[in-house]
């Protein structure tokens, strides 16, 4: 039973990551920075509860807010570039965050011994859950409560004017600009909200894992984060969750059958899925033309015409 609860927990956290990437991808930006915000949320929340004794809810909230603030700060300059340059910029940012935490040491004395981030050794002793008697089930429920809340918020946003604005920007930046939409505001807001969600996920992750280190926040994590919405189909929130369940379920269950080869199979799996269903599972792919053209010139509405792209 514990095994399945553990699986559910991992799926939950990765769902949050996927949803965070969904926001950003919706405006047509490919960002590999989610790992960085995840890390910021994780370390912040961890520090707040284990070193300063804050309550969990507050620590999570502050972690998310801090991640959002950094996202907005980084977003303004970074989102001025498009396509490949944005990918590299966000990658660079995430690497900076990872390396900063790799070198970050700050310990305080507690009755139980020194606690705090310890450079390359990571940050152990985030013992809020065990210390306060949370069972695995309760942690799992918390994670999924958060996922549901985030899903609700994003669903509501998508249906509101914000969602229309985001999607318009994702469809055709030139047309959106000419229709009076402030591109930077739209992109930065999506980036910020994505950052908050990733930060929230990080905070929860830190507590459930009790020990975090820089390796947890590599670029690979960010590629997983964008994999979920892409494989799940960009235009639907449910698709992202489905993709997480599918992929994480495969990876963890696959451990039983193919053992150590599962990461390799995962890579192969992604390739196969993209060949078979490039628009994602729940198709009706948002014709997100990312401006991945030389010099970052505005995209052309290549997918517009009679018929569109529909499954």
């Amino acid at each position: 039973m514990d095994f399945y609860l553990g699986l559910a927990q991992v799926i939950g956290i990765h769902s949050l990551l996927g949803l965070s990437a969904w926001c950003v991808l919706h405006t047509g930006q490919v960002s590999l920075a989610q790992g960085g915000f995840f890390a910021i949320g994780a370390y912040t929340a961890g520090v707040l509860t284990s070193m300063w004794g804050w309550p969990l809810a507050l620590a999570l909230a502050v972690g998310a807010l801090l991640a959002a603030a950094v996202a907005v700060a980084v977003g303004f300059p970074a989102l001025r570039v498009k396509g490949l340059m944005l990918v590299v910029a966000t990658t660079a940012f995430a690497e900076i965050v990872r390396l900063v935490f790799f070198n970050f040491t700050w310990r305080v004395q507690t009755p139980a011994g020194p606690v705090g981030p310890d450079g390359s050794l990571g940050f152990g002793g985030i013992r809020y859950f065990p210390a306060n008697g949370w069972t695995t089930l309760e942690v799992c429920l918390l994670i999924w409560a958060l996922v549901s809340a985030v899903l609700l918020v994003l669903w509501w946003l998508d249906r509101s004017r914000v969602g229309t604005l985001w999607r318009a920007v994702g469809e055709d930046e030139l047309a959106a600009q000419s229709a009076g939409i402030n591109l930077t505001a739209a992109k930065v807001s999506a980036f910020g909200i994505g950052g908050a969600i990733a930060g929230l996920a990080g905070g929860v992750f830190a507590h459930y894992a009790t020990h975090i280190e820089h390796n947890n926040f590599s670029i690979l994590l960010a590629t997983f984060a964008i994999a979920y919405p892409i494989i799940g189909g960009l235009s639907s929130l449910a698709g992202t969750i489905l993709a997480v369940i599918f992929i994480q379920g495969f990876l963890l269950e696959g451990l039983r059958f193919i053992g150590d080869w599962r990461s390799l199979m995962f890579g192969v799996l992604i390739v196969v899925v993209m060949l078979v269903r490039p628009g994602g599972f729940l198709n009706q792919s948002l014709g997100v033309s990312l401006g991945l053209r030389r010099g970052g010139s505005p995209n052309k509405a290549g997918s517009i015409g009679k018929g569109g792209t529909h499954a």
């Binding site: 318009a168 000419s178 229709a179 948002l286 052309k300 517009i304 018929g307």
Partner: protein, 251 residues
Amino acid sequence: MLELRNLSRHFGGVKAVDQLDLTVRRGEILGLIGPNGSGKSTTVNLITGVYLPTAGDVVFQGQDISKLAPHQRCELGLARTFQNIRLFGHLTVWQNLWAARMVRERGWAGFKERWLSGANAAREQAEELLVFGDLAHKRDMLAGNLAFGEQRRLELIRAAASGAELLLLDEPAAGMNAEEIEDLDNRIRSLRDQGRTILLIEHHMELVMEVCDRVAVLNFGRKIAEGTPAQVQQDAQVRAAYLGTDETAAT
């Protein structure tokens, strides 16, 4: 209403627009014509802010907008359509209009309009435009699925939806048959009669001569003629630009 003063835009050695002086008067329909490569599209892009000028100014309603971003110019009342249709293909017809409408609902004025006078005022105007464009029955259809003529109409009303006082229409008649062009003619007139000013870039001479109050002609980035349609048709330089001089004229 709109003034281009000594406007130039160079791309490396190419002078796409060269010391252009142009005035668009309030309430008129001004046509901008010229052979291919004469700088018409560049001019539109300079006016809307996609390009920044190498020299010169763009002045709109007395305000120098030369350095403003495109969305800021739209806020001030400038809107455009595109030569190759740029609709939000995966949004519905209604959402396309709505996205453009939102520029009017910013700030305090926008807040009042949305909540105090009821979201109805904005909605009503958008609904009116939908009817004007004969697209009311397709409001929930994805824009990418519309027929070509319908897409062109949507481009038109979307530009109007942003509440613009000056509409820049970039070759709206491209690819249309005679019937559709006549329809377009009427719509342009209606839009003007509703209180807007129109700058029309076109190749279809009949449409231009029919609907425009005045016409300006570009060649190699410079203005070579300006006047009423009749005057421009008689102008020797214009004829040379389009038909060539005696040595090369076919007729």
